[in-house]
Symmetry: C2
Subunit: 455 residues, 2 copies
């Protein structure tokens, strides 16, 4: 491609000229991703803000689309290559500077979430946002999707930790938003606007992130239920106490089977549903998990175990984190990310299985039960169009159920290309038009990750 | 005014037709406010969203400016009447609905902050944002300024608690942003853009606010220091421990004198500086305040007292909250709201007194020491132009010091009219132009609170 030739001249050493290697940048972790070949797009591996500026300036001059890419763990297609586009990877921009007095981290977008956690921990600090893909996903991608994960029930989402950004806009202008101070309200909050914008407004080249004191290691309860109704009763029982557990994760039987088929993480066979529940309250975690255990037993758990040590607890959490690769190993599927008011979670869970049965598609149901944010999957065989259509109809039906329950089509994965056609139905035409106008302010040529997030 | 006549016909019973009563809506709590007479503007007391729609539709048709008004506690002039404008008060829109399962409050903009706290407490829940004016300021105003206050060091600011908004835009269109669910990332985050927009984009008619479990009653330490340098040493000593106190407030000697002249709140005479420090950690507050007391003594406090009971602690906090009226009683002044990185707080405090001495103006120095956000005042006599100019120069000098220390001109009060000429210098021309374009998307006629926040 001429784009590859041009950029290789402008950015020597940054452009992937071998189509075999470029092919490795074709897809993200979206189950429905279909890979372009490595000669259908151009890969720039930016090492610096200046590399990003050069790339975005070139892209605007030549009207070439740009797909920003981080750890490629998106499940909605927001990081997949587009034909003729520049895939702009910031994966190697991994600088981390911790300021323990201000309790901030100033990081490059390529830093892996778990690596930032590890560096912060050396200073007695924590970066809470915790997607299941923490060991693979980048902070830049976390910011692009406003990623959540396993901590949100107590600690919130990525947006709650971003104080300021350096962003390169289409055309190459460098914009700085937000602040390094604890508070600051000068001007409109454009930091929040950029967080969750799915690469459609610009490319993050640096982020100032708020850190918090490192908590005690959490204690973990595993509760096994005979069916999902009882599991939901367990979730509701946890809600009767005043404080918030630091983690409340749900997995149904088919989810557990997918995880255990991927590796033995210590989950029980033949469970209708399990809950993983944690407390990290200093001085209270021990009594908390005992109380959780009692509440969950009373709610109908047939087995309740407090993880005996850190190793056992970590293994269970690792199992939860292995769910997405486990599902991928099980087969082709579409993954949901609906979020409903927590009081309606039981209805959502019931709908997943009813819808799966109605369309005769395999389902799994798992997710962040404390937030009302579930990631059900509907399985199909890509060589069987009938099965694929059935899975798509099941997916559509579940989105409508989420809306009927007062929820949203995406709690944390984002809209991507997967749900872009749905957005106007959720937000309304007037609102989508307003959002298009916001996008046009930043990206008048419409070349930033086109067709993702908003179209 | 014809506007008054027109709107009285459109909104019978909502328009203040008596200029004497209208005059009560002329100013906010800005020390430099100069009152218009009640016949120079029109006051609409909206009772509903529809009243706001009617008012904003009329305003757009007639190109009349609109000043949204809540509890009129702004210190930056953002709520002062403008000549010929409609002052649109939402003070009587005070509905509150608490959903204890979702842990949200759905409120009208006129609800007083302290009233919301009291209602939430009945459900075992808390609304943390806590401006010193909590007993007078409205949630709509808190949202307009992204208000902070005494809790921020541990609990953050208003933006951290706003899940969604209903906003009437110029021309009368009703817009809904955000969500009622715990998480949700469909579309750009326009909720965050509206929070802190100082009434320049639209009028909030309903807010969905996140609540948290009600904590234990905090325990309070009062530490008295011989001078401000020792006081700063005390603040730094607190920072050596891992967890975050729930409140760290600084007052210098002249601030204490102003408070005690306003009422006896139990503060000591002849202190160089005092710190109020709280812990609300369940099960740890007692040991926390003992450790604070030891750290503060070691840092040079001449007197350290743990409040013996709730009454004594409440009286001290009430005294801190009485600071602004106490300063007003002391005399004419300009109030700062600079925020610097917490590690530079000592330099900022030193600069306040150096600048005051250099310009020979009276100063007070107080504020949210845990955040690096101070509210120093420079006093003058409005009948003495020389003294006023000196105070203005001192104010300007302190803004520059804050910038030199890596800070911002406003931590929480907002830009208002007071600092609008400074904004471009802090953000840069390109950024201010981008923000003007954002404003124009919402308010193409430029009639929403013109000259405040951004100009």
């Amino acid at each position: 491609m001429s784009t590859t030739v041009d950029l290789d001249r402008l950015l020597p050493g940054r452009v992937v000229t071998d189509p075999g290697i470029a092919a490795g940048y074709a897809v993200d972790a979206s189950p429905q991703a279909v890979a372009l070949t490595g000669d259908e797009f151009t890969v720039v591996r930016a090492r610096s803000r200046e590399d990003v500026v050069t790339t975005l300036r070139y892209a605007a001059e030549r009207r070439v689309s740009v797909v920003p890419q981080g750890g490629r763990t998106s499940t909605t297609g927001s990081g997949e290559a587009l034909p003729g586009a520049i895939v702009l990877s910031t994966a190697t921009m991994t600088s981390v500077h911790i300021d323990p007095v201000e309790r901030i981290a100033v990081v490059g977008p390529g830093v892996i979430n778990a690596d930032l956690k590890a560096v912060a921990a050396k200073h007695g600090l924590a970066y809470p946002p915790d997607p299941a893909s923490a060991s693979m996903c980048s902070i830049g991608g976390n910011i692009a999707t406003n990623a959540g994960g396993l901590c949100c029930v107590k600690y919130g989402v990525t947006a709650d930790y971003v104080r300021g950004l350096e962003v390169v806009l289409p055309g190459g202008e460098v914009m700085r938003t937000g602040r390094r101070t604890a508070k600051g309200v000068a001007g409109y909050d454009l930091t929040g606007l950029l967080v969750g914008s799915e690469g459609t407004l610009g490319v993050v080249t640096e982020a100032v992130l708020r850190l918090v004191p490192l908590g005690d290691p959490p204690l973990t309860v595993l509760a096994v239920f005979p069916d999902l109704a009882a599991t939901v009763a367990g979730i509701e029982a946890l809600r009767t106490q005043p404080h918030t557990p630091s983690l409340v994760e749900l997995m149904d039987g088919p989810s557990i089977a997918a995880v255990q088929a991927y590796g033995d993480y210590g989950f029980p066979a033949h469970a209708g549903g399990v809950l993983l529940v944690q407390s990290d309250r200093p001085g209270h975690a021990g009594s908390d998990v005992q109380r959780y255990a009692e509440l969950l037993s009373a709610a109908g758990a047939t087995e309740v175990a407090v993880a005996e040590d850190r190793v056992e607890a970590d293994l269970l959490l690792e199992g939860r984190r292995a769910l997405n690769p486990g599902l991928k190993a099980r087969g082709d599927h579409i993954i949901e990310d609906v979020c409903v008011p927590v009081g309606r979670l039981g209805e959502l869970v019931a709908a997943v299985h009813e819808i799966g049965a109605r369309h005769a598609v395999g389902t799994t149901c798992a997710g962040h039960a404390g937030d009302g944010n579930l990631h059900p999957c509907f399985f199909y065989d890509r060589h069987d169009p009938v099965s694929q259509q059935a899975a798509e109809r099941a997916f559509d039906d579940l989105v409508r159920v989420a809306w009927d329950l007062g929820g949203t089509l995406t709690g944390e994965h984002g809209v991507g290309s997967l749900k872009v056609d749905w957005l106007a139905e959720e937000l309304g035409t007037a609102e989508v038009n307003r959002q298009r106008a916001v996008k046009a302010l930043f990206d008048p040529l419409g070349i930033m990750n086109p067709g993702r997030g908003i179209a």
